[in-house]
Symmetry: C2
Subunit: 419 residues, 2 copies
């Protein structure tokens, strides 16, 4: 596809999205909720059709030699379709941020100022493989009063189309414009470039996918990006950590699911912690490969040496790098040097150490005595998430409905002029 | 200056800023306030020195043929220096956002979640001519716990250096690192490019200056930008507007100061408004050139025709474009087509019309029965402003201390692991 053709396609879609956005921005919360419930019903009603198209994607994926992991991400079954529809309904039930008054002040001259939440406008989501993102991301944008332009991966194109078509039927049945959620009709890479260049047409772009996708988006985007970079997450086990809690939390943080962005990648152990060998023994026993610095190797657990690159690596696998540190200060310095500002945790029964770590570690999420795998919008009570932001502006950590809004200032006067 | 040299310079400055940022981020509010009071004192104490360096800038400016308006912006006198020092003191007294808990929740599993305001980190300000920005912007970044890298215009370089040196003396006298506020030691344009490319080193860049500066920053920046674009601001005078209020507000909004971003540029008058001729007569009498559409010209006030370009022009001068519209709906449509999402106002005694305008106009600031010239952080009670954002992400409208912060999530557990 030529760049000009892609630009023209995205411009047309963005204009339709903008028109739809002005409608959805003003739709009452109950109307948006009813439309999403109808969309969920439409997904359930078309389960057979969605399964059939997913079978096409799966057959093509197998023919194209997709890995077992990718095929599993692509696969839909009745249970996953039901979960997807339930997810849309749970977004429907979320408390809507739109219209919420953030603050209200009355100035000495009588002007009444309100800062009120409003939708961002038009949001583009670029994602890979998992077809459920079509439903999740579309529902979150919709409930927060935004128009969405979805661009899924080529491997899930048929499934995405079927899910999108079902949702659109649901929305239209409630009198809302189909263009509130659009799916880019081509998986040509040029269309992604056109989205990234669509400054002024698209208000925010959310990449959901692997490193190469996120890197491309960050390098090329002229549109603001809500980006999720690596989760090189640390747990620091302090001298005053409870050994039983430490063992349970470290194994959970690393091994519960190794492929999620909240998984622990590096373990820092205070030299004064008395149970390092038992802790690492448990981690190894759980099936984790441990790569250690010299002090960790000296524990004689047949641990491989960590190279310099290990401290900066997001494994997303059953591997952990482990270093011994001299107390919380060195742990904080290690995290500042090697972390990715995603999620880091301290395990200790010493309140002062915990508060120092919470205060000084500069990450989106900083935890005390809890597993880093809790880094998730659902676990945070946000109901869902469009992603976890490792950027500093606009929204940080799990982003749900509020992160998809902005605000405007309303000023009510009685004829005031400025002296 | 070679790009590589600029990059090296900015990298070194940004690293020093980052180190200073970790100190200032944790400084108690009272310590930051005391340091700013000391900085204000140092400015007052060095008034003679600052005046002498300003005289050098003024002489060079005259020799270089700067316009009278630019020379006035460049000029410092005892009164302006006193106002600058007072401004720094008033920022010192502002309520600090850092550490404020935005929300706190307890999850069913016992995890305690807090969302807490923290500084953004390292902020670069690129500005032109007015030397007082050195003090204002430096103080705002400092009070919000950020390290600032200031890059002023070449025409004010000597004044900026003197003001910066005085402030740095004040900060250092209170035991805070000089690198919390740095001034780029060169006015080479390449240094701006290096700031714009300093992704990962600088957390936000704020351009304060004319259109060409802002356009360059928006086109080149890889660092997030808090940008202020045009203020093509509208006032819509509804059929139900109070004629006396309308006359006073329209003249104030256009003519109080024509060069500020909150000035009205386009006036939209409801065809059903009975006093259009008197309103425009007052505007013309105040010294404003009026350019009208056919209906406005028909009022026979010897009004020049507005061209298509007029509706999209920010004059920043004693000129207004005026159109007749059919009620609030057409006014809203005109603003959607031609506005810049800065500040727009409706004048009416009809509450329903006012609420519709406030709800549907998609601008950072939407006003009812008040002058658009109130679009200002000081007037909004924010104490000061780093700029007025016309972007949608992060901060919108006047940006002061809160807009210079982000947040992080603190999670306190007692050993929880994720099932």
């Amino acid at each position: 596809m030529l760049d000009e053709d892609s630009d023209a396609l995205i411009r047309t879609m963005a204009q339709e999205a903008r028109a739809a956005a002005t409608v959805i921005a003003r739709a009452p919360s109950a109307v948006k909720a009813a439309a999403l419930v109808a969309a969920a019903e439409a997904i359930r009603a078309d389960a057979d059709g969605i399964l059939a198209t997913n079978a096409e994607d799966m057959a093509r994926g197998r023919a194209n030699g997709l890995t077992a992991a990718l095929l599993d991400r692509l696969l839909l079954d009745r249970e996953r379709i039901a979960a997807m529809a339930d997810g849309v309904e749970s977004v429907a039930a979320l408390r809507d941020s739109v219209g919420r008054i953030i603050e209200e002040t009355v100035r000495p001259n009588g002007l009444i100022l309100q800062r009120v939440r409003v939708p961002l406008g038009v949001i583009a989501i670029v994602y890979e493989s998992r077809p459920n993102v079509t439903a999740d991301a579309g529902a979150l944008c919709f409930k927060s009063g935004n128009a969405a332009i979805l661009r899924g991966g080529s491997e899930a194109q048929a499934s995405n189309r079927a899910i999108h078509a079902a949702m659109a039927r649901g929305l239209v049945s409630q009198g809302l414009p189909a263009a509130t959620i659009q799916l880019v009709p081509t998986t040509d890479r040029a269309a992604v470039g056109a989205l990234l260049r669509a400054e002024g047409l698209i208000d925010m772009i959310v990449p959901r996918g692997g490193k190469s996708l996120v890197a491309r988006v960050q390098a090329e985007a002229r549109v603001p990006v809500l980006a999720h970079l690596d989760g090189i997450n640390h747990i620091y086990v302090d001298a005053a950590a409870d050994p039983a809690k430490a063992m349970e939390i470290v194994v959970n943080a690393k091994m519960r699911r190794t492929g999620v962005c909240g998984a622990m990648e590096t373990l820092l152990i205070d030299r004064a912690y008395p149970d390092a060998a038992a802790l690492l023994g448990a981690l190894i026993k759980s099936g984790c490969e441990v790569r250690g610095d010299a002090a960790v190797q000296a524990l004689d657990l047949r641990i491989e040496p960590a190279t310099a690159a290990d401290w900066d690596t997001e494994y997303l696998d059953a591997i952990a790098s482990v270093a011994m540190v001299d107390g919380v200060e060195e742990a904080i310095a290690h995290i500042a040097a090697h972390g990715s500002h995603h999620t880091d945790a301290v395990l200790t029964e010493d309140r002062a150490v915990a508060e120092r770590f919470l205060g000084e570690v500069d990450s989106a999420i900083v935890m005390h005595n809890a597993s880093t795998q809790f880094a998730d919008g659902g676990e945070f009570g946000l109901g869902a998430e469009i992603g976890i932001s490792t950027g500093r502006l606009h929204a940080r950590g799990p982003v749900a409905l509020e992160g998809l809004t902005t605000y405007k200032w309303l000023v009510r006067g009685t004829g005031q002029v400025r002296p």
